[in-house]
């Protein structure tokens, strides 16, 4: 008997797109140019941002005529132009809703043009419930072209499954509608955090950030360590970071190394590595285990990045300070029991195209408040 799938509950607020997810994945795979096969405005904002990271994004600019008559010729033309103009070593072609609905075959253009560099084709549109689908599809194609290993593919797939679950449990996919919220006032939260530090309370300082967003989230952990040091309580703080540079796609390893080097140079001591930059959905479990073994009696914890991926088991009695970049993450975090939630608005764009830690507002606030101490 046919088995009915459980009906997924409706989610009304806009959520990340699988087309964009495919684009970011191609960047992580060190793709030089990506052709978006579709209308000129599709994924514009992220296409633009990714150029800051050195990956070029171009579009076949399908219009009404293209929708009706097909976009094969346009794709061939753009592919040829891309090869001539940019001389790329690796090309990506990414579908859009429009081109996929009308049945465009990305591969036909590749067969016709026959580029002598690898082309990663991703037949993706944005009609998937979980944007991680776009990542999986890009990785599948990379696997098929021999760019990543089977083992890395399986590793990534398992992580993405976890990431999807994290969002379902306490993230953007956890409710029918999530109201955006700017979080608590930064100076008030900073005041309370400094108060605890000055009282000699013991604190955990955890970075669990997704990929390049760590360039700014790390600044918060750095600031916490710095102000504690300045106030004479540096030894009360334990630092845990997901900056393992031996795992993940090339860019993620590179970024982990860069952030680690910066932290070291600024005198930040890493007590525990809890995973790599792409392991944010599971690194929280590693942190949880370490906390259970060694630090369950600590008084407070600062968690930056993806705080909702950290299980509450061993931290539920601590005063929690979490820093996120998602205005829709505030309410779920509060509901989990995080006392203070700070939002670093527009964090992601500022972490593209950088190779050093970027100053955060909350970090700057903390530093400012102990300036004269």
């Amino acid at each position: 008997m046919p088995v009915k799938k459980e009906k997924e509950p409706l989610i009304m607020h806009p959520r990340p797109s699988s087309i964009v997810a495919a684009l970011y994945t191609l960047r992580d795979l060190d793709t030089d140019v990506v052709i978006l096969h579709g209308p000129p405005g599709c994924s514009f904002k992220h296409a633009r941002l990714l150029e800051e990271d050195g990956m070029r994004v171009v579009t076949t600019s399908l219009d009404e005529t293209g929708f009706v008559f097909g976009g094969h010729d346009a794709l061939v033309e753009v592919l040829e132009k891309v090869i001539e103009r940019f001389n790329p070593r690796r090309i990506g072609i990414v579908g859009t809703c429009a081109s996929m609905i009308i049945g465009e075959e990305l591969h036909e253009a590749v067969t016709q043009v026959q580029p002598d560099v690898p082309v990663i084709e991703v037949d993706v549109h944005a009609g998937y419930r979980d944007n991680t689908k776009g990542v999986v599809m890009a990785l599948e194609s990379a696997l098929a072209s021999g760019i990543i290993s089977e083992a890395e593919f399986e590793r990534q797939k398992a992580l993405l499954k976890e990431a999807t679950l994290v969002e379902k449990r306490h993230g953007a996919a956890s409710k029918e509608y999530l109201e955006p919220n700017r979080g608590d006032l930064k100076y008030k939260v900073a005041e309370r955090l400094l108060e605890l530090i000055k009282q000699g309370k013991k604190g955990l300082n955890i970075l669990n950030a997704k990929k390049e967003t760590a360039f700014m989230f790390a600044d918060i952990n750095l600031a916490v360590a710095q102000v504690a040091q300045k106030l004479g309580y540096g030894s009360n703080i334990v630092n845990m970071v997901n900056l393992d540079d031996n795992v993940g796609l090339p860019k993620n390893r590179r970024n982990a190394r860069e952030i680690k080097d910066d932290l070291k140079e600024k005198g930040f001591e890493i007590h525990h590595i809890i995973g790599g930059l792409d392991e944010y959905p599971v690194a929280g479990n590693t942190a949880d285990k370490i906390i259970g073994e060694k630090y369950s009696d600590y008084d407070f914890a600062v968690i930056s990045g993806v705080p909702h991926a950290l299980p509450m088991n061993n931290i539920k009695n601590m005063e929690l300070f979490s820093v996120t970049n998602g205005p829709r993450q505030v309410i779920p975090l509060k509901e989990m029991g995080h006392t203070h939630v700070v939002v670093e608005i527009d964090l992601h764009p500022k972490t593209l195209g950088v190779s050093h830690i970027v100053e955060s507002e909350f970090g700057a606030t903390l530093r400012e408040m102990v300036k004269d101490a």
Partner: protein
């Protein structure tokens, strides 16, 4: 790899009748056969299933079923595996996208298109959009056949299909004439086949027996196995299963097509 064929032709010309009779004839010969109806009307396999309608892939998708192979593959006459893609209600949504989604699903979950000797795609008469050529574009079809009568309009459609095939760089492996009783019909279709670079594989005479059997939910192979018309289908089936090279067709211009029907 199994032989994977698609039968094209003007709507109403008899593609489904031909497909199901060829499928039944091949099954009689001991071949493992799969028939996939790609028309939203979902009527390709009905005469192999004693008139029974089977749930289509699109029906199950609409109901939110987690589709498994056993939900969509149904055994018909002599074990012929029958699948229907189906589609949205007429005038709603996008049937072309439906075919694309169904073909991707088939590639993923179905062994019926691999562990078999012959797969027949019964495609809709009019290739109105990109989705309708998905079986060809996704590499699931390696031989194409065109069905036509000797009348001008069906030939016009057949010629158009040749245009499409040549654009897709798909070979044409034979032309089949389903007679409507036009004057000089066999000669006209035979000449058409030759001029587009192919050959006439079979001339199927008009026989009321086909309709009578269909009305009762059977192919002539099953219901009237000793009839003359059954023998014609058997011969065609043999011819399709025999090895033959196809050629990318060269469509005719319209004036030549008109001239041809005046022979």
């Amino acid at each position: 790899m199994p032989k994977q064929i698609a039968i094209y032709g003007k709507g109403g010309i008899g593609k489904s009748s031909t497909a199901s009779n060829v499928a039944a004839a091949c099954a009689d010969e001991g071949y493992r056969v799969t028939i996939i109806g790609c028309d939203p009307k979902s009527d390709s396999s009905i005469t192999l299933l004693q008139g029974r309608r089977i749930p289509t892939i699109m029906d199950l998708m609409r109901e939110g079923i987690d589709i498994k192979e056993e939900d969509i593959v149904f055994k018909g006459y002599k074990g012929v595996k029958c699948l229907e893609i189906g589609g949205p209600e007429p005038g709603i949504g996008c049937a072309g996208r439906g075919i694309i989604v169904a073909i991707s699903l088939l590639k993923k979950i179905s062994r019926a298109i691999e562990d078999t000797d012959l797969v027949i795609y019964d495609v809709p008469g009019d290739i109105v959009c990109g989705g309708f050529v998905a079986p060809v574009k996704k590499g699931l079809v390696n031989e194409a056949y065109v069905l036509t009568s000797g009348e001008y309009m069906p030939l016009y459609a057949a010629n158009n299909i040749c245009k499409g095939l040549s654009r897709l760089e798909m070979t044409l492996n034979g032309v089949i004439c389903n007679s409507r009783g036009a004057l000089n019909e066999e000669k006209i279709v035979s000449e058409f086949a030759k001029e587009v670079g192919s050959q006439l594989l079979a001339f199927i005479p008009k026989d009321v027996l086909v309709q009578t059997c269909e009305r009762d939910g059977y192919s002539v192979i099953e219901k009237a196995p000793d009839s003359q018309i059954a023998a014609v289908y058997r011969k065609l089936a043999k011819s399709i299963m025999g090895k033959r090279e196809g050629k990318i067709p060269v469509p005719l211009d319209d004036s030549r097509l008109r001239e041809l029907t005046r022979i």
